[in-house]
């Protein structure tokens, strides 16, 4: 008897769980496009808000949301307000599976925007394709997002790691020629693609080491690089490990020139982790493709700071905030281009048509054959605790194409701060 009762209870619980949260997707009256009504567009994302990978990255989605709130306060896009659902996946691919299904099947989102992480997002590509959900501007530089034949709805945002590796490699070749160059990278596509790009330019590096995020001790790796006599160390690391590598190197009196991937070079995040040792970052070379957070003269930064103050609770303004708002700006551009009768096919068409001009210092590569994001970067150097751009932006591809200076002029944001249709 008791067992029957237990089973019955379990069923009731499941069933009620099924019914109570039913209300979420009932908004779409008349219109057949999921997540789109006359007054609203619902989009979702998955981000690490908790867990070891949350550092820095957890500020991206709130910044994007803040930009959407700003757009909504200015009348929205084609009369529709954007509602952004942020789900925490803790950087665990199993959680990503669940939250993305919840967004698509339960909350009926129009699109997934800026889902973060290579291992996490790789797992949902097939699901999103099956359900024909646009999968826009993935927050990672993996080349997996650029497979238009296999995943027609998936688009990248970041310059891919090979492109970045080639540009960092070019810097080393031109400015640090003859020095012994070594590499420390994350043990996944990030590290591997980055190294591939560097070696395309420089040939084999003198020594290479790798790390896994689950082990926060890089003492042995830095020891090995020191023993190999490295004079330049290129890091394909996330911010925490950038700080750890620099700090550990200093500890063993190892002071090479560090050249760091954009993903792990935000001076605010890295400096915070280094704490009192932050001056060690001085002279660090990295690359970026968006305006830098402390460049107050830049009109984009002025706009984003305004939005940050009004809609983001004045969160500390670092490059993650700039990144999040740039993603928001691009998405609004895509929505404007897709027109008033918004459908999923139309937004994909609009993104493929490209022609977006935004905060980026280089063009986006989107076309029907190419779904990868920004096509280049410009080098930065840390001076007086702040990153500053130097030289010109470079563009290149992930194959053997040349690394060429890009001469296009940067554009200013529209007066209203909202891209026009």
């Amino acid at each position: 008897m008791k067992r029957t009762a237990t089973a019955a209870l379990a069923v009731v619980l499941l069933a009620t769980a099924g019914c109570t949260s039913e209300g979420g997707g009932s908004g779409s009256s008349g219109a057949s496009v999921p997540g789109v009504t006359d007054s609203e567009i619902v989009v979702g994302t998955h981000m690490p808000l908790t867990g070891p990978a949350a550092a820095g990255y957890s500020k991206i989605a709130p910044a994007t949301k803040a930009y959407f709130d700003y757009v909504n306060a200015n009348g929205g896009v084609h009369g529709r307000k954007i509602s952004y659902k942020i789900k925490d996946d803790g950087y665990n691919p199993a959680n990503t599976q669940t939250v993305v299904r919840e967004l698509v099947l339960q909350d009926k989102v129009f699109a997934i925007l800026n889902g973060l992480g290579t291992p996490t997002h790789t797992g949902v590509l097939d699901f999103l394709k099956t359900n024909r959900v646009p999968d826009l501007f993935v927050a990672s530089g993996s080349r997996s997002w650029n497979q238009p034949d296999k995943y027609p709805g998936t688009f990248g945002f970041n310059p891919d790691y090979t492109v970045e590796g080639k540009i960092l490699g070019t810097y080393v070749k031109e400015n640090l020629a003859g020095k012994k160059t070594c590499f420390l990278g994350q043990d996944d596509d990030f590290g591997r693609d980055s190294l591939a790009g560097i070696e395309k330019i420089l040939g084999p590096v003198a020594a290479k080491e790798s790390y896994v995020t689950s082990n926060p001790n890089v003492g042995p790796q830095m020891g090995a690089l020191k023993a190999a006599g490295c004079e330049v160390v290129v890091l394909a690391t996330v911010p925490g490990f950038t700080a750890l590598s620099i700090g550990t190197a200093a500890k063993i009196a190892f002071k090479p020139q560090f050249v760091v991937s954009n993903v792990g070079a935000d001076p605010t995040t890295v400096g915070k982790t280094l704490g009192a040792a932050a001056p060690l970052m001085e002279g660090l070379v990295a690359a970026n493709y968006l305006p830098l957070n402390n460049d107050d003269a830049n009109p984009w930064i002025q706009l984003f700071k305004k939005v940050n103050a009004a809609h983001n609770g004045n969160a500390e303004f670092d490059n993650n905030v700039v990144y999040g708002m740039s993603v928001g700006y691009l998405f609004v551009q895509a929505l404007q281009a897709a027109g008033k009768d918004l459908t999923r096919d139309k937004i994909i068409e609009a993104v493929q048509k490209n022609g977006f001009q935004g905060p980026g210092s280089v063009p986006l590569r989107f076309s029907a054959q190419d779904h990868s994001g920004y096509g280049g970067e410009q080098l930065t150097k840390i001076q007086g605790g702040k990153a500053v751009y130097f030289g010109t932006p470079y563009t290149t591809d992930d194959k053997d194409g040349p690394v060429a200076p890009y001469t296009g002029q940067p554009v200013a944001p529209p007066q209203s701060g909202v891209p026009a249709a």
């Binding site: 008897m1 008791k2 067992r3 029957t4 009762a5 237990t6 089973a7 209870l9 379990a10 069923v11 619980l13 499941l14 069933a15 769980a17 099924g18 949260s21 039913e22 808000l49 908790t50 867990g51 957890s58 709130p62 942020i86 789900k87 925490d88 803790g90 950087y91 665990n92 691919p93 199993a94 599976q97 669940t98 299904r101 919840e102 099947l105 339960q106 290579t118 291992p119 996490t120 790789t122 797992g123 590509l125 097939d126 699901f127 099956t130 994350q186 043990d187 996944d188 596509d189 790798s210 896994v212 995020t213 689950s214």
Partner: protein, 344 residues
């Protein structure tokens, strides 16, 4: 002195559910399972797709919790490494599936490989007790990312592998198909376990748990019983892992972190240790609690609250249940009925 004490204590593990010899007439497990199957099929037609996916996840979890509760609850062996066994099943399925694209074959290979893995760990585990066993299995749990990045040619490091699957027949929605697959496997696993622990094997398991010396005197081969128990529960974990690989269409070490292994133990203890119904409760909790806590966090709208509140809620529930009802959720109905009887 302390040894005597712990041994005496061990006999008092709270029993609940199937393993208690009942005076009342028991339903045959096959009947319960058949009823369960009907119920699940009915549910898959009532529930919306996302709930079906959650239902499928519950079924996949049930496989591993059922196996673990037999090992820990009935045989007294604590394993903190079942997440790694799930990973074994998942990776085996992924590799086999990507080579031959034959789901039944892949499941068979996954079962074979986890049997072998379970036997190896079980042989070591049979020599160890209590926290020493916990320590060894904990080390097994954390070895997953290490193995996948050391042999990254095969396992592709932190990034993992995607799993090639043939889509289900057009007429069946994906999520319903997933629910059927997971619950089909789960019900078979639970039925086999129920039949297994009703018989002599179940008695041996409990005898070994309660008093090794007495069990030995009764002619039970202790090491063999323990290794067998480990193998059985490893196979269940392997099936579960394989199901998760199918659900996610991908495998990666991040999906089988140490916390998963710990959550599994917590789930079976909250559900009610040693009881297959407790395992069901545990599986339901693993799916429902995080979702509930997250939606609460979302409603309060606070960034910092969102993911963290789920942790706090799960933790508080865990502590409260352990302090108030150590027999787990499965023991609550009997507690209530006892209370009612006392009041009459």
């Amino acid at each position: 002195m302390t040894n005597v004490q712990t041994k005496a204590n061990a006999t008092a593990v709270p029993d609940a559910g199937l393993n208690v010899p009942k005076r009342r007439r028991r339903l045959h497990p096959a009947l319960v399972i058949a009823a369960g199957a009907v119920l699940v099929v009915a549910l898959t037609y009532v529930l919306p797709p996302f709930r079906n996916y959650q239902l499928a996840t519950t079924g996949a979890y049930l496989c591993v919790t059922a196996g673990l509760t037999v090992l820990t609850g009935l045989n007294g062996q604590l394993s903190l490494g079942h997440g790694a066994l799930m990973a074994t099943g998942a990776y085996t399925l992924a590799l086999t599936q990507n080579k031959w694209v034959n789901l039944p074959l892949s499941f068979a290979v996954a079962i074979l490989v986890t049997t072998a893995a379970g036997a190896v760990i079980g042989l070591a585990a049979a020599r160890l007790r209590g926290p020493y066993l916990a320590g060894l299995t904990l080390a097994v749990a954390i070895v997953v990312p290490s193995v996948t990045s050391t042999f990254d040619e095969t396992f592709n490091s932190d990034q993992g592998l995607s799993v090639i699957l043939n889509p289900p027949p057009e007429t069946i929605p994906m999520e319903r198909w997933q629910a059927w697959l997971c619950w089909g496997a789960a019900l078979v696993v639970v039925l086999l376990l129920a039949l297994l622990i009703r018989g002599r094997f179940g008695r041996d398991l409990r005898a070994v748990r309660d008093d090794e010396t007495a069990a030995k005197l009764a002619g039970i081969n202790i090491a063999r019983t323990q290794v067998l128990a480990f193998v059985v529960s490893a196979v269940c974990a392997g099936v579960s892992g394989a199901l998760f690989a199918v659900l996610a269409q991908s495998v990666s070490p991040g999906a089988f972190p140490l916390t998963l292994s710990l959550f599994l133990v917590m789930a079976i203890v909250i559900g009610g240790l040693g009881s297959l119904f407790g395992a069901l409760w545990g599986a339901v909790l693993l799916v429902v609690l995080p979702t509930l806590a997250q939606s609460v966090g979302e409603q309060t709208g606070s960034q910092q609250l969102e993911g963290n509140l789920a942790l706090v809620v799960f933790g508080v529930v865990l502590v409260v249940v352990m302090l108030a009802a150590p027999g787990g959720l499965a023991s609550i109905p009997s507690r209530i009925s006892r209370l009612i009887r006392r009041n009459r």
